[in-house]
Amino acid sequence: MNNTLIIFKREFSSFFATPVAYVFIAIFLILSGVFAFNIGGLYERGQADLIPFFNFHPWLYLFLVPAMAMRTWSEERKSGSIELLMTLPVTIWEAMLGKFLAAWAVLGLSLALTFPLWLTVNYLGNPDNGIIVAAYIGSWLMAGAFLAIGLCMSAMSKSQVVAFILAVVLCFLFVLSGSDMVLDAFKAWLPPVLLDTLASFSFLTHFQAMAKGVLSLSDVGYFLIVIGVWLYAGLRVIEQKKAE
């Protein structure tokens, strides 16, 4: 666990040593503001809540999180530092977890920096702050799921661009798997049980409840399981591919 913490610290400060974290935070804040106000109509709705703000998070994460995750393992493999890391007395699991937590912390920080929005709705009206906190937690969990997919894809390829594209495509499938667009495509030849399973993989469905302030065990559990599964998949990928 101690090793995870050391790697966490290294990765976290590396995000700020390179401009990655600053760029990410700035763009996240600008875009989330633009979406919430201009497209979501946060003011015009005349309701004291942040639902328009949270509703756009899956779409923001879809591009921003893979961009953040893409270098994590690709860079290690490209520069050869993975050989150093893997021959230090550190297990791959500890390294993976440290890297994941560091990036997740940056995501958490970006989310936390949207606090002026929360202050605004509190100034303008009387929102249910419990709902807002729950939605923040939900959004962060979902960001973690995107991130885990991104890390796994980053382990797949030495090229950051390939890692990015793979991650965006996969994330896109997960976001949309509950939508009619995807389900219609499979309806013809998948049995209903599998179709339901596919639909239940959707990030959107699980997040929508949380954006409304309902933190149910099944939604929280879903995202935690997605995180765990993809991190494990990434771990296996690294074991397989580290030598290439």
Partner: protein
């Protein structure tokens, strides 16, 4: 103590390492020699637990690799080929990171970092990002991280590659100054390096072990070992030299005019040749015994299969 038995590693159809077996004791400074792609780096990667062998057994301090990887890795310092590091960190941050992973803490950590910085002479470069450093300094950072925890086993993959002669000398001194009960394995293309720092030479080619003995033994395999070189100041009749007792062969370099006499096995030619020269009063300006040419043996051994 490193004990390797029937170690093999294949990448698809390609056998990078083929049935290697050897033991290395504390105090051994082993030079891994071999052409590019001979399997030196792959062997090192298996010893350090980066790659898992496809067959064979590695035991280090009685522990099996890769099963006890973490416990073994604690006792190994490793400089991978090309000295990779995290480019966005400064050497100081990087060494601090490695020291923490190596379990060094507090004063002890500071002390060790200070010591290795002095040992590899990183002095002025501590606060620049590693990616901006020259090749030589990057290599020094890599060396520093490998020795920071004073490991019992030090594995260095081409530690002097890309360094200038002064830096090479420094690295060799560094290796020689390590305490005598450690295991050091270095891979290199530079043969003189092996005779300079190693007490054991292993030649690997095509994944197979071709030679494993002291560098002196290696030199003895050379055709030139104890050969006598003569250079004449003016033209002289040398026909008699080849007929001397103990001379197996004579070679004359038509360009430089240098004459080389190769001895029969275990014959000391120099006194015989010196006597002959004195008797005939030959106009010799240089007379010396060759030490044997490593590159000669190396070439002979590693190209045998190809010929």
């Amino acid at each position: 103590m490193i004990s390797v038995k029937n170690l093999s590693m294949s990448f698809g159809d390609f056998k990078a390492v083929d049935n290697l077996s050897f033991d290395i004791k504390p105090g051994d400074i082993v030079g891994f020699l071999g052409p590019n792609g001979a399997g030196k780096s792959t062997t090192m990667k298996m010893l350090t637990g980066f790659l898992n062998p496809t067959a064979g057994e590695i035991r280090i301090f009685e522990m099996p690799m890769p099963e006890s990887a973490t416990a073994i890795q604690k006792q190994i310092g490793y400089l991978p080929e090309g000295a990779p590091a995290y480019g966005d960190m400064t050497p100081l941050q990087f060494l601090n990171f490695i020291a923490e992973i190596r379990g060094l803490k507090g004063e002890n950590k500071k002390q060790r970092i200070k010591e290795v910085i002095e040992q590899v002479e990183l002095g002025d470069m501590l606060d620049r990002p590693i990616e901006n450093l020259s090749k030589g300094f990057k290599r020094r950072v890599g060396l520093a991280q490998a020795i920071i925890h004073d490991p019992d086993i030090l594995i260095l993959d081409e530690p002097t590659d890309g360094l200038d002669p002064n830096q090479k000398h420094q690295v060799r001194e560094l290796i020689q100054n390590l305490s005598k009960d450690k295991i050091v394995i270095i891979s290199t293309h530079i043969l003189e390096e092996v005779s300079a720092v190693c007490n054991r030479a292993m030649i690997i080619a095509g994944g197979k072990m071709l030679f494993d003995a002291s560098p002196e033994e290696l030199v003895k395999r050379s055709k030139y070992y104890k050969a006598v070189g003569i250079h004449f100041s003016k033209l002289a009749d040398i026909s008699g030299l080849a007929e001397l007792e103990g001379v197996a062969e004579m070679e004359v370099d038509s360009q430089s005019g240098k004459v080389t006499l190769f001895p029969d096995k275990d014959v000391d030619l120099l006194p015989v040749v010196a006597d002959y020269i004195q008797q005939r009063n030959l106009p010799v300006d240089t007379l010396y015994t060759e030490q044997g040419r490593m590159d000669d043996v190396f070439r002979m051994m590693t190209t045998e299969g190809a010929l």
